[in-house]
């Protein structure tokens, strides 16, 4: 019982990383931009956030630093892709490769650093409940913030005019342009917002989830987050659920290792990656289902007057 509660708690925490990053990527993709640089942005944000906490001792400043790093890199990506019409896949890939190198380079002096002991978080009263207390209500605030972001995004995308404009830019940029909306500026805003969220997720990894800095510590979470948007057929609520599902798979691996299951640890480590592949296969099997839900202009450049 105790173990199950802790497993559930860890699942939520692991899922939070993926959820925040994937929601950011969802904003990008709703506006028609695929950013394969998620992994690189998260790595740079992880080291930026970690360094900020080492120097200031304040984890919220760490999150802010991570968001700033993610937004900055996304802005560079956005200018290249949106104004210079570079290939989105290649540019995103460049960002991922650059981010991996740069974070390793910048992080070298932080490898041995430790973060100050974090305050334990528990909601008053709810945190003391048996089972559900330790499982759900003794989480870092970021876990609840991720849920709030999801709800906020649902409201924004489907209940506000600005959200409608964002979606129209992703569905049909020509029409949006003809209606007088600044398509490229909107896309840049979406890319920067997505980068900031990826950055927040990256900082959460190095500040809260595994509070230390190791080269390449994002370990594919950025790529899994990219897969999640497809898995969720571009719906925010499904992104959140999918993220928890994947968080569960990640945690199951550690849980089985701790239980001493007689499987080589390498095979357990493979689980989240294999699960990603399986899920992609299952969801993509029906091309019509994907085509129906996918933002139409995704991955295609838009150049007004061309």
């Amino acid at each position: 019982m105790e173990g199950t509660a802790l497993l559930l708690a860890a699942t939520l925490s692991a899922g939070t990383v993926l959820a925040i990053a994937a929601l950011g990527l969802l904003i990008n993709e709703k506006a028609g931009i695929v950013n394969l640089g998620a992994e690189g942005m998260m790595l740079c944000a992880a080291i930026a956030g970690f360094a900020a906490v080492v120097h200031t001792g304040n984890s919220w400043l760490g999150f802010a630093a991570g968001m700033a790093a993610g937004a900055l890199l996304a802005a560079i990506f956005g200018v290249l892709v949106i104004w210079l019409n570079t290939n989105q896949y290649a540019t995103g890939l460049a960002l991922s490769l650059f981010g991996a190198g740069f974070s390793a380079f910048a992080g070298i002096r932080y490898v041995q650093e430790k973060l100050p002991e974090q305050a334990r978080h528990a909601l008053p009263w709810l945190g003391d409940l048996p089972f559900v207390g330790p499982a759900l209500f003794r989480q870092h605030p970021m876990v609840y913030i991720a849920i709030a972001i999801t709800l906020g995004l649902i409201w924004f995308l489907y209940r506000t005019r600005a959200g409608l404009v964002l979606r129209s830019v992703g569905e049909n940029p020509e029409s949006a342009h003809a209606l007088g909306y600044p398509v490229r500026r909107i896309r840049l805003l979406a890319v920067v917002a997505g980068g900031a969220l990826c950055g927040l997720a990256g900082a959460y990894v190095s500040v809260v989830y595994t509070p230390l800095w190791v080269e390449g510590m994002i370990a594919g979470k950025g790529w899994i987050a990219l897969a999640l948007t497809t898995f969720a057929t571009w719906r925010p609520a499904r992104v959140l659920l999918g993220a928890y599902l994947f968080g569960g798979v990640t945690m199951l691996q550690f849980h089985l290792q701790a239980e001493g299951v007689d499987v080589p640890p390498q095979f357990l480590t493979m689980l989240p990656y294999l699960a990603t592949i399986v899920v992609l296969v299952l969801i993509s099997r029906n091309p019509r289902w994907i085509r129906l839900n996918m933002p139409t202009s995704i991955g295609k450049p838009f150049y007004p007057g061309a």
Binding site: L80, Y89, L97, A104, A219, W223, I224, A227, Q266, L274
Partner: protein, 354 residues
């Protein structure tokens, strides 16, 4: 206010000039970085661009690192030209190394030198099989090849790790996670005494020539690329996109696997968790910087190899982290993509905002 104006025709001049301009930008940013870090930029440039070519031995080492990069990039060029986004060459490289290394482990003192052929074949088949998974899932289930091939990199890494920590661990290796050292007979033949350059270099150059013929002189090569340039035209002409997908992935997988086998049976000589050195990712940059052209990729593979060697030297001589290599590689690709804009657009200054 500057703005872009589409050219009537792509500029041939900029197609050649853009990689050079990108390199220049990378060097300028690099110099600024060195100054910021309080290192002598002249010394640093020397380490990156002069040290790797200053002696026959150094040149040989440059070729040793350029060889896998070139071989992998040649395969990737087929992919990218046909609009198949295989970014998991690193995984195919690893499985090629595992398969080739597995064959090498079978050799004993009595084995003949035919084993080299088996090692190379093992590597190629291993890489093809690994890339084949991506092709199958794309073909049958429409699963995105970018994500699948990338996820398989992590899986391949774990397969290698399992083998060297488990069944293939050297019993006399003081419990280090590594296989037995391969028998000398498995060593990929070297071209000359006193240098580690092997026949892999020749294979790479022959591969570049073969790719040139395939891409520009055969009907099959033409059909392969039309799908990438104009999918609807390819459909109209009756060129199968499924075939193009399989050809692209099997070619690049085989090439990456070959590179992996040449690497373990060559400079490394055993299987360790450190076999993957990021060549599969760096080769993506090699492919783009080389314009996806066989000749261009020979030059860009050498350039990228310089970055690797420069990074290692910067670590030992200047006390800078080796990861600098990755920073410069990423920067180079970024600047290249930005500079490539000049091929299709010219910059105009316009008065007032648009």
């Amino acid at each position: 206010m500057l703005r872009l104006e589409a050219r009537a025709q792509p500029s041939a001049g900029w197609a050649y000039a853009s990689p050079l301009l990108a390199l220049a930008i990378t060097v300028v940013v690099g110099v600024c970085l060195f100054v910021l870090l309080g290192k002598d930029p002249v010394r640093a440039l020397q380490i990156f661009f002069w040290e790797p070519i200053k002696s026959p031995y150094a040149l040989g080492e440059l070729m040793v690192k350029a060889t896998p990069l070139l071989i992998i990039a040649l395969g990737l060029a087929v992919c990218f030209r046909s609009n198949v986004w295989n970014i998991g060459a690193e995984g195919q490289f690893i499985i090629g190394a595992v398969a080739g290394g597995g064959v090498a482990l079978l050799a004993d003192q009595t084995t003949g030198s035919w084993i080299i052929v088996a090692i190379i074949a093992g590597g190629v088949l291993g890489g093809m099989a690994w890339a084949g998974i991506t092709a199958l899932l794309r073909d049958r289930f429409n699963a995105n090849e970018i994500l699948v091939s990338l996820m398989l990199v992590y899986v391949a890494d774990m397969v290698l790790s399992y083998l060297v920590f488990g069944p293939w661990k050297d019993p006399e290796g003081f419990n280090f996670p590594q296989s037995k050292t391969f028998e000398p007979v498995t060593q990929i033949p070297r071209l000359m005494e006193g240098s580690r350059v092997s026949i892999g270099l020749l294979i790479g150059l022959a591969g570049a020539a073969a790719l040139w013929v395939f891409l520009f002189r055969t009907y099959a090569g033409f059909a392969q690329q039309v799908g990438g340039l104009a999918p609807s035209a390819a459909r109209y002409a009756g060129f199968s996109s499924r075939k193009a997908l399989w050809v692209a992935l099997l070619t690049s997988g085989g090439a990456a696997g070959l590179a992996g086998a040449l690497q373990v049976a060559g400079p490394i000589g055993q299987l360790t968790p450190y076999v993957p050195a990021g060549y599969g990712f760096a080769a993506i940059i090699v492919a783009f910087v080389g314009r996806l052209h066989p000749v261009g990729m020979v030059f860009s593979a050498i350039l990228m190899s310089m970055f690797y060697i420069g990074g290692e030297l910067a670590q030992s001589r200047l006390g800078l982290p080796k990861s600098l290599t990755g920073v410069f590689q990423g920067l180079l690709l970024f600047s290249l993509l930005a500079c490539d804009t000049l091929i299709n657009y010219r910059i105009k200054s316009s008065k007032g905002a648009r």
